[in-house]
Every structure is written in structure tokens, then in C-alpha cells.
Symmetry: C2
Subunit: 341 residues, 2 copies
DNA sequence: CTGTTAGCGCCTTCAC
DNA sequence: GTGAAGGCGCTAACAG
């Protein structure tokens, strides 16, 4: 039933020539006579010959597969990154092995392990939100598997990564708020384990003084990004003696949770308190009271860029090279103001 | 630099035994002496020996990889399915190759081709919305690669699939509406190329008469699921002489587009017109005016089930079997009423 | 209990 | 121009 797949040997036998000739003919090797080339190619086509990739992978010690590990697909942000990754990979004939860490460090470790065993040629990784031990990444280095991190970057040096340039975005939204006379500006930041949280905080602290606004650390609260934690954070902010009039949230998902919570407390969104945010999710277009503005982080492009770097590293890896240049690419971000009717 | 990875041969040499002994020892073969087993295992551990999967794939003619093709990840519905797939696959030591068709038939074909060449052991597929030619699926059958379709099923026979049982859900929501005195119930259905559209329509046409409601085909319009097309569909419905008071939408995404459009027309949602829908997306919890109810389709479970079936088929494929039983699994659906404050 | 051998499909020197 | 031969790492049938 399962018609056995044709092999080089099969073709060789039928044509009464050697396997190597067939191989060369199919690769259009110059030293093969035009006539034989044609005969080989024709028969190959007839038989629907497809080289056995597993044999090639084995032989070449390369799988043309890259592993992608990210927290979860359920956010459009990551889904868009995956699309960017996929498109570049596809173009270069690589396939994509996918693994979600579900924001769980253990799971992340296991997925790394599986992918290593599957001999992926390289990996793209965005950290689980509380990954603190980097042993599994060090391991990859030892195995000489190149890794490019994206969006959620570990606090290691000598790594490749792509991420959004957040300082600019933060400046823009704070400028935007100040221009609209907001001066009591709070922030719901992400967990300290994320570099992105640190960067947001730094940018926040640098930007406010430029507008002669004093920093009040009571105005900065933290959410671990879960809805519950965000509500908790909101509660803290609303309990402040001097209640903030504007809140910057870590991203739009946090903003959505925060806004929903605020509404329950009868707070009029974008009247009593207004929100600005990061990541500019399309879903916000469906909200009645979206954040006034959000910083577009170009996830698709980030995925593309990360993949380009990775594929380049993989290629370089083929030649032996004392590669010591680390790619650290920050993608431009840009504030987008939402039209509110 | 790149410390070459240890092989069976390496271990054998160091221990002065044969490769096969090492292989068997590592596989805990009964015929190997306890002493040698221990020595082998210890050295293997010391050297950090990891079997070369590419060699095993090659040898066994199996990659322990399944390919997943779906329209796009950006909808939570599919993302949830992927999670279900991933979890089952992971448990059984399979990895997941991912490909988005972007609802494009050509792209779908190309992805099928790549995955076939990568020798995936089986595939899980959800159709691009206007795939009409099934040649690429027939091909897989010829190559003896098992396929289980999910959610978006081709109109072929002799296929395996999982999908939601929609009739029950449709009955429930129509019952729900009738109970609330709605009798002029329209529907924005999906494109005719999808089996799921056909099923919704049939269920709709069967269910209405049970409540002594006459069917008016003018009340049934079609969206190709794009926001524009949904607006177009809404426009048609709003232009009806006898404007509907309730609208059933193909899924929550369509509902969201429809609701947004209606709002722009100053229609009061769930007052002038109310909406009910399918797929019960969590995102609706953030809307001020969500559909009154939505049919939960249990995507995660659908992914799980499809994968279980596929893995079973893959196993059976190993033995030679005249397998002719086709799995057609309909997963129960259930209407969920949204709390509206 | 353990070793020998052959071979999976392909690529790549080396020889003619 | 073409062929022969070896080997990638692992498994498994066959011999002891």
C-alpha cells in the first residue's frame, strides 16, 4: 500500500548508473553530462522523487529547523511575533518548532531540553515571566546552539536579542499626558524579573523630572500581569491620598484589566482617570473606553528581525568563526493615539 | 570549541565494549549484565551523552513530530487549540511544527508540502477559509501521512476530524432568545466554503420552526469573516424592512465587528438589537456591550482530542493495518450567558 | 550475556 | 564525465 518512497539508489538502478551520478545530476553538478542530467531529472520527476530530509539532516548535522519558545500565544502580541518569525523562516526554508512556556520556568526548561534533543539549528526565546535561573540557556551556549532572545530578555550579558526601545515611547506618552495638563501620573509596572519593567521604570523616572514633575514612588505599583494582581495594583493606586489622574500601564492587557476594575469602582475612564499604555493591541479598538494612547511595539517586525539575526548566526556557525559580536537590536517604538468618539 | 558530542561509538571505545552493547545498555535491554549497564550509564552521564535524534529519526523513519496548520494564531480560539495540541503532544514526546495558512489556500498548500518534506509523522489541519481544492490533502493520503482535521473541516469523506457539535448550541441560543420574546432573529453566517457555516444554517433552519417562527431567508446574511464584510452584512440586515431584533453571529469576532458597526449607527446594543454568538472568547469579558450569550466550543479540548486521535493513528500506522475506521468526533458545545451589569 | 555485521539515504572525497 | 567506497550515529538481526 504505502508505495515506498523512491531513493537515489532506485533511480540509479533504473538508469543503470551510479548513485553518486544521480545525486550530482539532481544537484546540477557541472561535471555531469547534459544528457544524463536530463534523464535523471525526468525519471526523478516521474517517480515523484523527494530527497529524504531526515537523511539529509542526519548527514549534514543540520535540521533547518528553529525552535521558538514564548510565554503564550493567547496574546496577539506574541502571535504577531510568531508570524514575523514564520515568514522569515519560511522564506529561507526553515521550519518552526513551537513551544509555549505558559510563563512557567520549569516548563520552559523542559521545552528547551526537547528542542535541543531535536537538534534545532537555533532558538528564539522570550522568557517566562519569572524565570530567574539561566542554566538552561547557558547549556545551549555549551552545545553551540545559537539563541536570539526577543521581547523578554534575560539579564545576562553576551547574548543576542531584539526588543522594543521603550524609553522613547515612555517619553512620548508622558509628554502627551503633560501636554494635556496631567501631572499626577502613576504607573502599573510589570514584575521586577523582566528587564522591560526595569526599563519602563527608568524611563519613567527620567522623563518626569524633565517636565518638572517630582517623582513619588508611591505612584509606582507592580502587577505580575495577572488580572488579579492588576486589580490589586489598581486598588493600591485608588487608595492613595492624592489619587492619580493618569495611569501608565505595562501593556494593553494590564490596561484592560485596570480599566475594567476602575469601572466597577464607578470611576469614569478618561474623565476621572485616564490611561495610557504599551503594545497597542488591535483589540483595544473594540473597547468603549480604551487607553487614550498606546505605544506600538511592532511585534511582527521584532519577530522578523530576531529571525534574521538567528539565521545569520546559524549560517556563520557553519563556517568556524570566532564570533564575538553580540547583536542587540532595539526596535523603534511609537506612540499611537486612539480616536475616541 | 564546539566540543563534539559524544556518540555510542565513543562510549564503546572508552569502555572497550561494542557499540551494540552500549546501545542496549542504555535502552535497559534485559540481556545486558547489570555491571556493564551501570558502567555504561555512568560514563554516558559523565559525558552528557544524548542520543542523536536526527540519526534515530533517520533510522526509524519517524520524526516524532506532528505538523499543525491553521489559519492564524491571532484568534484566541486557535491559540487555545494549539495549547491543547501541544500539551498532548508533549506528554507523548512529540514536538509540534507550526504553520499558519493566513487563510490563504496557496500558502496552505506550500506549508503542507514543507511539512511533508520534513517527514512529519502526521498532521493536524484547520482549513483556510476559502480552500476549495483538496489535492494537497489527497497527496498526504498517498504518502500515508495521517491527518486529523479540526474545526474547519473539508467536505471530503473518509477523513478524520474533530469539531464542535453546533446544532445543540444553536438550539440553546435560539431557545434563549425565544424565551426572552425575540422572534425576529437574523443570522450573520460564515462563508459557504466552511462546513461550519452549513451546519449553523441547517441548525438555524431546523430550530426556528420548532418555536413556530417562520424562516425568512432575507434574515440570513453572510460575512467572509473580515471586519469589512461583517459591516457589509450588518448594513444589509439594518436595511431590512422588518429590522431584526436579535442577531446570531458566526463567532465572537464577527459579533464584535457587528456590534461596533451597530454602535456607530447609534443602535443601542442589547436594547434595540441584541446579539448572541459562538466561540465564547474571553476577550468579550472586557466589552461594555458583549453578546448576551455565546456558545462555548471548548477549543482546548478539541485540540487535545484531535491530537489523541492523530497519535493513535500514527501508532497504528507502525503496525501494518487495513485501517478503515474514520474518527469523526463532535465535541459538545454549551451556551454561556454573559453577565451584564 | 555480548560482539559482528549490515544498512537506513545521502553526500563527498578519491580514483579512473 | 562517471563510479566506487566510506561514513554520518544508531538499531537490530544474527552469531556466538
Amino acid at each position: 500500500m504505502s508505495t515506498k518512497l523512491p531513493t537515489l539508489k532506485e533511480i540509479a538502478k533504473r538508469l543503470n548508473i551510479s548513485v553518486s551520478t544521480v545525486s550530482r545530476a539532481l544537484h546540477n553538478h557541472h561535471s555531469i553530462g547534459l544528457r544524463t542530467k536530463m534523464r535523471v531529472n525526468q525519471l526523478a520527476a516521474e517517480l515523484n522523487y523527494e530527497p529524504n530530509q531526515t537523511a539529509i539532516f542526519f548527514k549534514k548535522r543540520k535540521t533547518f529547523t528553529i525552535g521558538v519558545i514564548l510565554p503564550h500565544l493567547s496574546q496577539d502580541f506574541f502571535a504577531a511575533i510568531v508570524s514575523g518569525i514564520e515568514d522569515v523562516a519560511f522564506r529561507k526554508n526553515f521550519t518552526v518548532l513551537l513551544g509555549q512556556s505558559r510563563d512557567d520556568e520549569e516548563r520552559e526548561k523542559r521545552v528547551v531540553e526537547t528542542m535541543k534533543n531535536h537538534r534545532v539549528d537555533g532558538m528564539l526565546i522570550s522568557l517566562a515571566k519569572n524565570t530567574s535561573d539561566y542554566g538552561h540557556f547557558e547549556l545551549l551556549k555549551k552545545y553551540n546552539i545559537p539563541v536570539v532572545f526577543f521581547d523578554r530578555i534575560p539579564k545576562m550579558k553576551d547574548i543576542h536579542y531584539t526588543a522594543s526601545e521603550l524609553a522613547v515611547g515612555m517619553n512620548e506618552i508622558i509628554g502627551f499626558l503633560v501636554k494635556r495638563k496631567f501631572r499626577n501620573i502613576a504607573m502599573i509596572n510589570g514584575p521586577g524579573s523582566l528587564l522591560a519593567s526595569k526599563e519602563r521604570l527608568e524611563a519613567y523616572m527620567k522623563s518626569l523630572p524633565r517636565h518638572r514633575i517630582k517623582i513619588d514612588m508611591g505612584n509606582v505599583v507592580i502587577s505580575n500581569l495577572s488580572p488579579e494582581s492588576t486589580c490589586q495594583a489598581m486598588q493600591e493606586l485608588l487608595a492613595l491620598k492624592r489619587r492619580p489622574t493618569a495611569i501608565i500601564t505595562f501593556n494593553d492587557y494590564v490596561a484592560m484589566d485596570a480599566i475594567r476594575y476602575a469601572k466597577k469602582q464607578k470611576i469614569r475612564i478618561n474623565k476621572d482617570i485616564c490611561f495610557v499604555s504599551f503594545s497597542n493591541q488591535p483589540i483595544c479598538n473594540y473597547l468603549d473606553d480604551p487607553p487614550l494612547a498606546s505605544v506600538e511595539q511592532f511585534p511582527y517586525e521584532q519577530g522578523e528581525k530576531a529571525t534574521e539575526i538567528l539565521l545569520e548566526l546559524i549560517e556563520k556557525n557553519d563556517e568556524v568563526s570566532p564570533d564575538t559580536i553580540f547583536h542587540k537590536v532595539l526596535l523603534q517604538s511609537r506612540m499611537v493615539v486612539h480616536e475616541i468618539e
